[in-house]
Symmetry: C2
Subunit: 796 residues, 2 copies
């Protein structure tokens, strides 16, 4: 294919004049990129470069920049020619100079940041502030107009691109994939996203593998395998690879122009056919391999070392300019080789004949509203979550699986928002008992079908449930979907959400920064349901036990993080409704899928979730007085065991005054000064007392509670129980016993904490221990918990 | 290829008798797998199945099990025939029945667990305890003889396999990759590991993609693309795929036997040639696609639904046996279809003619010492780390980059252990300033070379530095290397070690369990160097700032986790030496690569690291008395700023008595009852006082210190400063100021905490604030910190 394209390219499609202009535009971009990396003054080279024009520290990466600009401006040509609706995703790390340059030249940068406009002073600031303290980042940070993908951590460009393309039939997302980035796991599997893209309903993704051969100090794998292997690889991934290879700018401009035209024509042909026939089969989508030198057009050789086309030009090809006049001269020659005097007018503005090459208005990729997705955000049309609740006439009497009603709520949310909401989960939607959604929409599937799929396959090309066994890809899709203004919900096993810790970190940082950028409109929140929790891994064992994602979440900015642990169906519904209405947050909901006791009717649930924490009067007997002990449950299983402990204590000590608290909103525990949801100290003290023992039964690792509450008055009496890496294949009660969060351990804990019970309680403690042993023995004998445990109810 | 193999297969290579025997052995395996899932009694079906023979809960996965056994016993055939040295890695989740069955039949299970030996009672226990509380896990857990790969979290089978093969020229690692698992990012990029395997020095990996078509409720992607795409994909990844496809056992036995012979012959041919010629070029290694039905040989149809070959047989094909006599009958028929009465003798032991099919002794994959790598562990021949130290005549006077001396220590470690030690890092060894190692050994590279590689490429087919831009693959390789008894060291950027949070979790859990398994010998520790830390991201910005890996680490068992923050070169060397000598731990060392002040000479460093925490007398002026305040530094940058704050305070308040502490071993802060390195309360109190303010300057998120120290006497006076998600592109001091860990903020903090200074300190606070503002303004003007900050020394 490459040979064909190349020979065609040499003939056309660019006229001589077009060729001259596009090359001049590219020179202007490259000039800016070098200027950003090196200069703090003399931006138009009005005088010979002097040491004081050079920044003290040289940062930013030249290597990938010319290639990024090259792609960007060739896309511009096609956008303009065909009035395309396109956005640009830059995968390569530190490639911002190659993106910021065309963004500046098409005028958007100066529109957004008027002090860096299209004049000499604007250019000087633009150069100086790049990769400078307090200035412009070297990735495509949230401050970059037109960016939905920072690229600070590598691997997510392609899945972000697909997320942006879903339900945007008119949009083409150009995704430049760095060949370093291509080695990451997240990227390597994201190529398979083409099995989830529907040519009728969705837009297109046009990946450009930027094969410039080197990472920081290493060749890239994909640049060092045979052409045949590379070709096979992408064909195997289901793409048609088009190769644009070389270093001669003239030939490369022609080849790129021809190849892009061919790819876009192919995309349009495929879409037109699918949309005309209504048959959404999986096409082999086109993708481009752009094989060009690292640091293209930069110095060929420096101090006897190969520079262009080698890893040495990955970052900064020339350095030490302040002490090395030869290098300073080379830099000036290099910059002048781009002929700035021809491309910029006397004021430093791109000359009109080149300005005319860029698209206008919202067609400029840096001004496309899809890349500032909050602008396009439509509120979800939500059904009334109250309609999905369970009847709870008396607390703690019936058992219901907690997630299926949520599944129905999500089902109807999906029906009402047929182009604006998707559910994501790694092959676990049914396992997590949310399968009611399939009544509204099936699982997206554009790969092959077999006859048996008709019986329970739940697959459809127009499905809206996204399932692939890659948390990375799902999270990337969802982020791309949210960043372009749509809504989503991610349900996953608790232990394995850690697979995307780092993706969460990066997205939370993106949101945190975005909150301070006035022109970025808020986007829908990233909503996680963490289920199949640590406590119900009856046969999955130790590897599946890890409630530590919350510990990762609390490290991120309190302006964007929220954590909820609803104990039953109605609280889960209320919380989910709240999360789906919110924006610019990461909401983490922890709720198990198995049967659990139901505590609150819908009105009580709403009230409880609104406060986030509260006394459960029906489980407390300290009414109107100070309690002897405060018992707290946070999380479904933790709440049940804390309640059962309360009941056991009441049996043994009728006069013991126990206050029972339940925590739904984890951040209520921290100070109001630390998090917007934090309780005031006065409110905290009135709930937790200032001097009574608190037994806090927590869903997760116990230390997290200390971390949140260590400044509270009564912290010294706070005794937290939670998961502490004990257990393996266990019944629920047995796992609780191993980690001392079971009813018996908690009740004994209370007795130990109350001086008045030290003597009177000895007999009770013995009885509780005996019972605990009996229960454990039963589990080992019969493989399940005793019926009296399994069927336990709150005693009325 | 598949057609050729198939037609050959129909003719041979198995004689009729061989075919009959191997099929019988497979039937015995399948019988055991079904028995494990269903039965708690009547293991040999001596009487018709009754409801009480069936377990209360049916757990474990049937779907993948017959395929796993099929592969296992065909490998056995070749091991025996050719005396191969092989181990088996089972990637598919919950596939343990398919592995435990042949492990039991070859006698190893009973040797290791005598109460589950080869007789009726042993088999009964073996069945009953599978996936039963307190019993045998449904993954290949550490308790499984012959396993180095649990598979509880998917995606790491192939990288583990490569890690095991490195430096084991005689070993073939058979790695079964589940087709669900194949969708994960970690697995998708691990196929490229073949560019890092040297046919002379290393063993071979024989991947078998177990294409049985389904995950929990979904088809797998690789089963639903065209044969041509699948073939291209693996060719593109650099493998030669051999297809074994079908469901007829007879044909499949012949095809598998033929294909395995061909693959092993190809492996041997490639190795022989490379070893004969001494030319280690990259061959196209063989791999197998085993396309067989999910739940192969199980019920074809249940209640009108397709079962064999569909997702419905992923877990348990038949259920409700206690209430459904028809299902109970089907189960019995299914089990009897394997003809147990023919294969097991009256006592329940496999008949001798079948027993003879398995290899003997250590050739049994379940008894191969490589899979209990601690048995083969040789201590590293370490150079004397003292020889790499820096001279520190006076504390805090000279600046040295902290990591390069470690690089030299690692270089000589590598030289002295030419087949027993490797260094791992994602394209960052030079960036992390460990590049001295290249003097001992280059980067492993079996992909293509270009002429320019000769100038600074540092590539070699026999390199021992492993670099690929996939933290997942590196971590997987390293784990595989350690689990087979060799040593390694992983250096990586701090923010991006989160990419492998979950892999760390799984490995730490493996170690934790292994410590309680008497027959598992301790393996070398997993050593991380976390560098390019949060505090020195001058141009990388916000995305590169995350010191939260430590928060993930502390959630894991204290028996296997260790965290060190050496502040300078000599402490770093002392800590690294300790880590390289340890076993069964995960050691996390945090140390920045940039220039830092040097504090301790080698003797002092060793003493300090041995204690893990201590008073720095030279920086304290409370000698022999109770201090007014305790200042603590933990981490390189944190220590420097805390020292500078101490110096500032001394300038302003000559009589203020400051005790300066430095913490290297983070776990000293926690109670001795919580971690083996925890200080006793008495020791803690004597260092931290019981009532004086403590200003604790920490490298990471500040709450971690509270989490560790919340039970200590003086916790109420503990004020921790650390990273709190503030900053972006900043100079080091500016970033510190943003997060209030800088010298000025700390000094002001101290003044605020000491009542006696409330009035006297007002002027000093103002001066400190002015200076802080001046420093920040300078950074924004010049792009670097003021020289007086950059060149700050401890005042003598």
């Amino acid at each position: 294919m490459s040979a064909t394209v190349k020979s065609e390219a040499q003939r056309g499609p660019l006229s001589e004049e077009e060729l001259r202009k596009i090359h001049a535009y590219w020179q202007a971009c490259n000039y800016l990129a070098v200027g950003m990396i090196y200069l703090q003054d003399n931006p138009l080279l009005r005088e010979p470069l002097k040491p004081e024009h050079i920044k003290q520290r040289l940062l930013g990466h030249w290597g990938t920049s010319p290639g990024l600009s090259f792609i960007y401006i060739h896309l511009n040509r096609l956008i303009k020619k065909q009035e395309l609706n396109m956005i640009f995703i830059a995968g390569p790390g530190h490639g911002a100079p190659g993106v910021l340059a065309p963004v500046y030249l098409e005028g958007v940068y100066g529109e957004v940041y008027p002090n860096k406009g299209e004049d000499e002073e604007g250019m000087r600031r633009f150069f100086k502030e790049f990769s400078f303290p307090g200035g412009i980042g070297s990735h495509c940070t949230p401050e970059t107009p037109g960016s939905i993908h920072e690229g600070g951590e590598l691997g997510y460009s392609l899945s972000h691109a697909f997320g942006a393309a879903f339900d945007n039939p008119d949009l083409i997302v150009a995704a430049v994939v760095g060949d370093g980035e291509a080695e990451t796991g997240a990227l390597a599997t994201a190529w398979h996203s083409n099995k989830f893209l529907n040519p009728i309903r969705d837009g297109a993704v046009l990946p450009v593998l930027h094969l410039n051969g080197y990472k920081i100090n290493n060749p890239t794998l994909l640049a060092r395998i045979s052409h045949e292997e590379l070709d096979n690889l992408f064909k195997g991934y289901g793409w048609i690879p088009y190769f644009v290879e070389g270093d001669d700018p003239e030939l490369m401009h022609q080849a790129m122009a021809a190849t892009l035209e061919q790819c876009v024509a192919e995309i349009q042909r495929v879409q037109d056919e699918a949309r005309r026939t209504g048959i959404p089969s999986r096409p082999r989508w086109p993708m481009i391999v752009l094989h060009s030198p690292k640091g293209w057009t930069g110095p060929k050789e420096v101090d006897g070392h190969k520079m262009e086309g080698y890893w040495r030009s990955h970052q900064v090809p020339l350095s030490g300019m302040r002490d090395n006049p030869a290098h300073l001269k080379m830099l000036e020659e290099w910059m002048r080789s781009y002929q700035p005097e021809k491309h910029f007018d006397a004021n430093g503005k791109l000359i009109p004949v080149l300005k005319a090459l860029a698209p206008a208005g919202h067609r400029r990729m840096s001004a496309n509203p899809h890349a500032n997705g909050g602008l396009l955000r439509k509120a979800l049309r939500l059904p009334n979550f109250r309609d999905y609740g369970v009847q709870v006439p008396k607390p703690g009497q019936i058992e219901v699986e907690n997630t299926p009603p949520l599944g129905k709520f999500l089902r109807d949310t999906m029906s009402r928002n047929p182009d604006n909401f998707r559910l994501f989960g790694p092959d676990e939607t049914t396992s997590n008992k949310l399968n009611a959604v399939y009544e509204a929409s099936k699982k997206t599937w554009l790969a092959d079908y077999l006859p048996e799929d008709a019986d329970g396959g739940e697959l459809a090309p127009d499905g809206r449930v996204m399932e692939m066994l890659s948390e990375h890809t799902l999270e990337g899709w969802l982020e791309g979907y949210l960043l372009t203004g749509r809504h989503g919900f991610f349900a996953t096993y608790e232990a394995f959400v850690h697979v995307i810790d780092s993706m969460f970190n990066q997205h939370a940082k993106w949101l945190d920064i975005s909150e301070d950028i006035p022109w970025r409109a808020p986007i829908p929140s990233l909503n996680f349901l963490i289920t199949s929790t640590v406590w119900r891994q009856d046969h999955n064992g130790f590897t599946h036990q890890d409630p530590g994602f919350l510990d990762v979440v609390v490290n991120k900015s309190p302006t964007v993080t929220r954590i909820y642990l609803p104990p039953d169906v109605n609280t889960l519904l209320s919380v989910a409704d709240h999360c789906l209405k919110s924006s610019n947050d990461v909401n983490v909901i922890v709720a198990d899928k198995q049967k659990h006791l139901q505590y609150l009717d819908m009105d009580a649930a709403i009230k409880h979730c609104t406060k986030g924490i509260g006394i459960w009067d029906w489980a407390s007997n300290d009414q109107g007085t100070e309690p002897d002990v405060v018992m707290v449950g946070c999380g479904d299983m933790a709440t049940q065991e804390a309640l059962a402990a309360t009941a056991l204590l009441r049996e043994h000590f009728q006069n013991l005054k126990i206050r029972f608290l339940n925590v739904v909103d984890l951040y209520t525990l921290t100070s109001a000064s630390e998090h917007p949801h934090g309780l005031s100290d006065r409110d905290f003290d009135s709930l937790f007392t200032v001097d009574k023992p608190i037994i806090f039964n927590f869903h997760g690792y116990p230390w997290l509670i200390h971390r949140l509450a260590y400044r509270r008055t009564n912290h010294r009496n706070l005794h937290v129980r939670g998961y502490k890496e004990k257990g393996n294949i266990n019944t629920p009660l047995e796992l609780a016993i191993e980690n001392e969060v079971d009813r018996f351990s908690l009740a004994i804990d209370v007795i130990n904490r109350i001086p008045a019970l030290q003597v009177a309680g000895a007999h009770a403690k013995e009885a509780l221990r005996d019972k605990q042993i009996e229960c454990r023995n039963y589990a080992h004998e019969y493989g399940t918990d005793k019926p009296e445990i399994r069927n336990w109810k709150w005693p009325l």
